[in-house]
């Protein structure tokens, strides 16, 4: 029998040891400083709002129009146990824009991981070096484990098919920037609703804000029953609509996800399912003027490039907002400050 890790005691901040009960028992109004972010469910609605509004203040710094030294002297560990250039670079950019520094495990093949070190040991070591740790890992629950082992805050940057809460935050920030509200939005979620990790936490968060959800996916990739029942529990308004053209009628947002090849054992099945899953640009002729198309990127063929120049395309703005949203999160967790002073 191995050494059993005991949960670390932590003064002040709640450590989210219990994924589904944490919100209920957490004292409110104590800020995000020193906290972990493992699942979007770790955050209350007000906390999500505070991150989104803080992100707005970071935009000029993210654009390079202003400079900031808010995180001067802080060190962020980027523990990437699987490749993800985009997410890693956006965290690194966010930290550097705030005057902080980063250390990186970028290639697990050449790191101690390849020598068989456990995640627990690697994280414990990093938590001695850095002020916070960002974890991307191929196994579901890896960030939860990291948060139990680490003395320092852990931010989940995607664990297997599990959670990816910072993606959800930037998705929400994109909608909020465009519509100035999240409540009452009609959001169509399209694509892989079964395995797509971004979509489950996004659906949860949108439901929390009172958005109406319309789900459209190939039959093989429908949303799992347990996710549906989670959503029902928080009173989500959801319906399924197989026909995309009908689904986007008077919708505000179409959120397109990738259908991942690696989820299919059978490549012919993948080809069959994915070939039918492409946004037909003519659909955009009938949508509301304020309608936007979002995508977590990288895309494969779900959105033809001719949509890029349309006023409805919001996915590049969404990709940019990854930086200010992560800046806001890092500021709040590492310094307790929402953003650069002076508004």
């Amino acid at each position: 029998m191995g050494v059993v890790i005991t949960r670390r005691g932590h003064s002040g901040a709640h450590r989210f040891a219990k994924p589904y009960t944490s919100r209920a028992c957490r004292p409110t109004g104590m800020g995000l400083k020193g906290r972990d972010l493992v699942s979007i469910k770790d955050l209350s609605k007000q906390e999500i709002e505070s991150i989104i509004s803080a992100a707005r203040r970071h935009i000029p710094v993210a654009e390079g129009k202003r400079t900031s030294t808010l995180l001067d002297g802080k060190l962020l560990a980027l523990a990437f146990f699987e490749p993800s250039t985009r997410t890693r670079l956006s965290f690194e950019t966010a930290m550097l824009r705030l005057g902080g520094r980063t250390i990186t495990i970028a290639d697990p093949a050449v790191s101690s991981v390849a020598k068989g070190e456990t995640l627990s040991d690697t994280v414990r070591m990093l938590s001695g070096y850095a002020d916070a740790i960002v974890v991307r890992h191929p196994n579901e629950g890896a960030s939860r484990l990291a948060s139990q082992v680490s003395e320092k805050p852990v931010i989940n940057a995607g664990d297997g098919a599990g959670q990816h809460p910072t993606q959800t935050l930037l998705d929400l920030a994109t909608m909020e920037e465009h519509f100035h509200t999240l409540s009452g939005l009609k959001v169509v979620l399209m694509g892989d609703l079964r395995y797509g990790r971004t979509v489950h936490s996004l659906a949860y968060a949108l439901a929390l804000f009172g958005a109406h959800l319309v789900l459209t996916s190939p039959p093989a990739l429908r949303i799992p029953e347990h996710i549906r029942s989670d959503l029902a529990e928080i009173g989500a308004d959801i319906r399924e609509e197989a026909d995309l053209r009908r689904a986007v009628q008077d919708a505000d947002v179409l959120y397109v996800t990738r259908i991942q090849k690696e989820r299919f054992g059978d490549l012919a099945e993948y080809a069959r399912v994915s070939s039918g899953y492409r946004l037909d640009p003519s659909i955009l002729e009938e949508v509301k003027p304020s309608f936007i198309v979002m995508h977590p990127l990288p895309r494969v063929a779900e959105i033809p490039s001719e949509v890029d120049s349309s006023s409805h395309a919001a996915y590049f703005r969404q990709a940019f907002l990854a930086v200010p949203v992560r800046m806001a999160l890092l500021s709040l967790i590492l310094s307790g400050q929402p953003g650069p002073g002076g508004g």
Partner: protein, 154 residues
């Protein structure tokens, strides 16, 4: 209707009202094949029960059950009762109770879960639904409602 189909024991534990057909699993959970050499284990399968129709019974001499084992039995057979026998008398009898949280009883059915990767942790589950019983992995959020294949004693 007091009938003991099997020899009374002086000291030990009786697990009664086991869901019919699960006695062999209960034996596996309690580790019946590596008990004290002096212990007799008796098993009654498919016994008439007024309350349950049919049930199984397991009696083990000179053994007390750890809370983890009681939890594992509760997962398989929520109707089970556990009686402590001392000097041929029942000194304590209680139904198994389902805790809100299980540690180290089940393995996570998700092969990609971090709890299945040789990390120094015990799998942990929260009870998310009682009737029917459903648990959720604290690491990967996976639901489990079919416990037998995932018991750690297997």
């Amino acid at each position: 209707m007091r009938e003991l189909k099997i020899t009374p024991i002086k000291n030990g534990t009786v697990i009664d009202h086991i869901t019919s057909g699960f006695a062999l699993e209960v034996l596996r959970i309690i580790g019946a094949n590596n008990l004290d050499k002096e212990s007799t284990v008796s098993v009654a399968l498919h016994v008439r029960s007024r309350r349950m129709g049919w049930k199984d019974i397991v009696k083990v001499e000179n053994m007390e059950l750890s809370p983890q084992k009681v939890n594992a039995i509760a997962l398989l057979s929520p109707t089970a009762t556990i009686s402590m026998i001392q000097d041929f008398k029942v000194i304590e009898k209680r139904p198994v109770t389902l805790p809100d949280h299980f540690t180290g009883v089940l393995k996570c059915p998700n092969p990609n879960c971090i709890s299945n990767q040789g990390e120094p942790i015990e799998p942990e589950f929260d009870v998310v639904h009682r009737r029917p019983l459903a648990l959720r992995c604290r690491y990967c959020d996976r639901y489990v409602d079919d416990f037998l294949p995932h018991l750690k004693t297997r």
